[in-house]
């Protein structure tokens, strides 16, 4: 059996191209979707082992997509890694409410069923590292 299948969902085509390029170079099978609805359809049909999901997208946002995936018995088992551009929780903030906002975003993501977060822009190294950890934890080929 080869490496795992990964579905990337983002409305930014350049971001999709970069992620897909990095993951493919590392030997993964990659599919992309440019919107939430497209992502859900591809998840049902293609059955990836991991979905990398952008939060802020026009139409259906990442939280909604994730909730949807987790309600559907066909897709509920798929691990979701969320992409956020709101900055990492470790970065310095000027005010406590900024940090509170970021933490709230993350909690919302975890509540919707995501298992991990990555902050944009994502470095290739971090992306692969995080993807491997999740696949390993889900018992999939890394």
């Amino acid at each position: 059996m080869g490496k795992a299948r990964i579905l990337c969902v983002d409305d930014d085509i350049a971001q999709l191209t970069v992620m897909a390029g990095i993951l493919k170079t590392d030997g993964y099978e990659v599919e992309t979707a440019k919107s939430g609805t497209d992502g859900i359809a591809k998840a049902r049909e293609w059955k990836p082992g991991l979905i990398i999901l952008d939060i802020m997208m026009p139409g259906m946002d990442g939280y909604e997509v994730c909730r949807h995936l987790k309600r559907d018995p066909e897709t509920e088992h798929i691990a979701v890694l969320m992409l956020t551009a709101k900055g990492g929780v470790d970065e310095p903030v000027d005010h406590a409410y900024e940090l509170a906002g970021k933490v709230k975003d993350r909690l919302k993501g975890f509540d919707s069923g995501a298992i991990e977060f990555l902050t944009k822009p994502v470095k290739a190294k971090d992306l692969l590292q995080r993807v491997k950890a999740i696949l390993w934890a889900s018992g999939l080929p890394v």
Partner: protein, 657 residues
């Protein structure tokens, strides 16, 4: 007894997994989410082994190892590194690390390794001896460390309190409430500077704080200290003056900031303890005062002697030394009467010692005190060439200046001084006329007719703040940015913030001194003609994002640039329609696009716009959009030049070979 393991790992998933494995095997686990937290917990909990992830934001694994090994409290604890394969090459060498495991790791191998490490450690007599030896050192250090750690922890919430207090001051308050808040702010400020002193004091004590060695103008720290202390002196009606001996060399090598810090400390202290009279700061060169031998002139080291004399309450003879110890004052009633001064002199003493000098106090109780200190500097190798100074002055000559000022006396003085300095001046009697003149005089190319506007703040009909806002509003349509400098008698932060919010670039306090004025506006004028120094694209960042794959970056660039124009149009439309949600969304997308290309400047501006949209306040939107437009244009220009690709490939080739 079960062994304690500190697990330093930023990924929640990984941490959870490792924790489960280790706990099942009977270890006791403490988690730390980043390097900094790891260091703190390692020192506090003294684990038997530290398990460290190498891929962490902020302080990475390798830096963390370095710091663990530097700290005597933790340097004996074995460290097991969890690393991705490609990082093994950069691994710190030798005995710093007990073992390395590749991620994702095999649980059984990890447990075996841990077993090996903990057993080896327990049986090693030599290690035990070393540990005992370090316990003695630890005890010496622990108090200082504790103070430093506590102070760092205190500073964060204190910043919050101060931030919120500032926000509160901006709301409608009764004068009674205003008084309460002002007191809160003053107390917070005092506490903050005390905490800062404690931190620095402990840093010096443990040898973490070093001095800079840079060439500087000796007059700079002196002027700066006086500037900081002047408002306090004025408040109390005290004279504050300086006497600098002529034979002092202008340029020296040393740490200007530290000199300033000690001077500020002594001068504000003197003011605090003086009710009438004044404070004099004098500066002498020690050698020339003591001996006039010619060979001292050629020595490369120079000792400067500073003295701060006041006419205050004075210090009894038996307290003159103890006041330089931490948390000591002349007597405990002084704490109540004067507040503060717990750490200031102790810190000053340390800094002076670092600078190779001494500090001491002379005093006649009831008559006043003089604080002396000496500091050693290296002589600057080359004195500045006067030619350079002259050409810098010339750049700021022959300006078209608009002066908005209602008082005829002030007008007279300002016009005379500005003309003497070679500028042309147009006078407006109030803000309304200033705005009118700004418009009528028309433009010179992309720029306004005026090079600079000096704006009084309090004026009849239309004040300086309103006039500035109006001018900035007009500039949105016309383009350009004319520097506006506020002239004001009020120098509180609150007031300065108001000026900045209205769109003013700087402020100077009244009465206006021409040299100060020139100094204030010079940076604005030179900035206009200079090309931006920040590179539009951090190529190294962009390469890291694509994992060094230049072709992938090329296609990302092509796709991004195709998208960016449309996105920017959407943003402009959203701004025109005053739709914060749409501004947030399109700015967010632009931020993502720019971030992926390593275009940090453009990304930050987009971020600002996103925040404006999020908060529903689009007032600064058009100006930021204009800025973003320029930044994007520079990014496009950067990637249109095929040179970037060559450089990118070269840097990758270099990294491989």
């Amino acid at each position: 007894m079960s062994k304690k393991i500190l697990l330093v790992e930023d990924s929640r998933t990984e941490a959870l997994r490792t924790q489960l494995i280790l706990e099942r095997a009977g270890y006791q686990i403490t988690l730390a989410a980043n390097g900094k937290e790891g260091l703190f917990k390692a020192a506090m909990e003294k684990p038997d082994v530290i398990l460290l992830d190498t891929l962490m934001p902020q302080m990475g694994g390798f830096e963390t190892v370095g710091r663990l090994k530097l700290d005597p409290q933790t340097h004996n604890i074995p460290v097991l590194i969890l690393a991705a394969e490609d990082e093994r090459a950069n691994m710190p060498s030798g005995d710093a690390i007990a073992a390395v495991m590749r991620k994702p790791f095999d649980p059984t191998r990890l447990l075996n390794k841990l077993d090996e490490i903990t057993k080896g450690n327990g049986g090693d007599l030599h290690a035990e001896l070393l540990r005992a030896q370090h316990q003695v050192e630890e005890a010496k250090k622990s108090r200082t460390d504790f103070l430093a750690n506590m102070s760092h922890e205190l500073r964060t919430p204190l910043h919050e309190i101060m931030g919120m207090t500032d926000l509160l001051l901006g709301t409608e308050l009764t004068s009674e409430q205003q008084g309460f808040i002002n007191t809160t702010r003053a107390s917070s400020n005092a506490l903050l500077s005390l905490i800062g002193d404690v931190i620095e004091f402990s840093e010096i004590e443990v040898g973490q704080l070093g001095l800079e060695e840079k060439e500087f103008d000796l007059a700079e720290p002196i002027e700066r200290a006086i500037e900081i202390a002047m408002p306090y002196a004025t408040d109390k009606g005290l004279d504050l003056s300086t006497r600098i001996a002529a034979q002092i060399p202008k340029r020296v090598v040393g740490d200007a900031n530290r000199v300033r810090q000690v001077l500020t400390n002594l001068v504000t202290n003197a003011i605090k303890f003086t009710e009438r009279g004044g404070v004099v700061l004098s500066v002498n060169s020690e050698q020339s005062a003591v001996n006039s031998d010619t060979d001292t002139v050629h020595s490369s080291l120079l000792t400067v002697r500073f003295a701060v004399r006041d006419t205050g309450i004075g210090i009894p003879a038996d307290r003159r030394e103890i006041i330089f110890e931490p948390f000591q004052q002349v007597d405990s009633s002084a704490t109540r009467r004067f507040g503060g001064m717990g750490m200031g002199l102790a810190l000053a003493k340390q800094l002076v010692t670092l600078m190779g000098g001494k500090i001491w106090a002379d005093s006649q109780p009831g008559q006043g005190s003089t604080f002396h200190f000496t500091a050693q500097f290296k002589r600057a190798t080359v004195e500045p060439r006067p030619a350079a100074a002259a050409s810098a002055g010339k750049a700021a000559q022959n300006l078209e200046i608009l002066l908005a000022e209602d008082s005829p006396t002030n007008q007279l003085i300002a016009v005379a001084n500005l003309k003497k300095a070679g500028h042309a001046v147009t006078v407006a009697n109030n803000g309304r006329i200033a705005v009118q003149l700004f418009e009528e005089r028309g433009r010179r190319g992309a720029r306004s007719f005026f090079d600079l506007i000096l704006m009084d703040v309090a004026m009849p009909e239309m004040d300086g703040l309103e006039a500035t806002k109006a001018i900035r509003e007009k500039e949105k349509a016309l383009g350009g940015h004319t520097p506006i400098i506020a002239m004001t008698a009020f120098t509180t932060k609150e007031y300065r913030d108001k000026c900045a919010a209205a769109g003013m670039d700087a402020y100077i306090s009244k009465p206006v001194r021409i040299d100060e004025l020139t100094k204030t506006f010079e940076p604005f004028l030179s900035r206009e003609s200079e090309t931006p120094t920040v590179a539009p694209v951090a190529l190294q960042d962009a390469l890291e994002i694509v994992g060094g794959d230049v072709d992938l970056l090329k296609s990302a660039v092509a796709l991004s640039l195709r998208e960016v124009t449309g996105q920017f149009e959407e943003l402009k439309q959203a701004l025109a329609q005053q739709n914060p949600k749409a501004v947030e969304a399109s700015a967010h997308r632009l931020k993502g696009i720019m971030g992926n290309l390593g275009a940090t400047a453009a990304r930050d501006i987009a971020q600002r716009l996103e925040t404006m949209g999020e908060q529903g306040n689009l007032a600064g939107g058009p100006a930021a959009a204009q800025e973003l437009d320029g930044a994007i244009a520079r990014v496009i220009a950067f990637f249109s030049d095929p040179d970037w690709e060559k450089r990118a490939r070269a840097s990758q080739g270099g990294a491989d070979g």
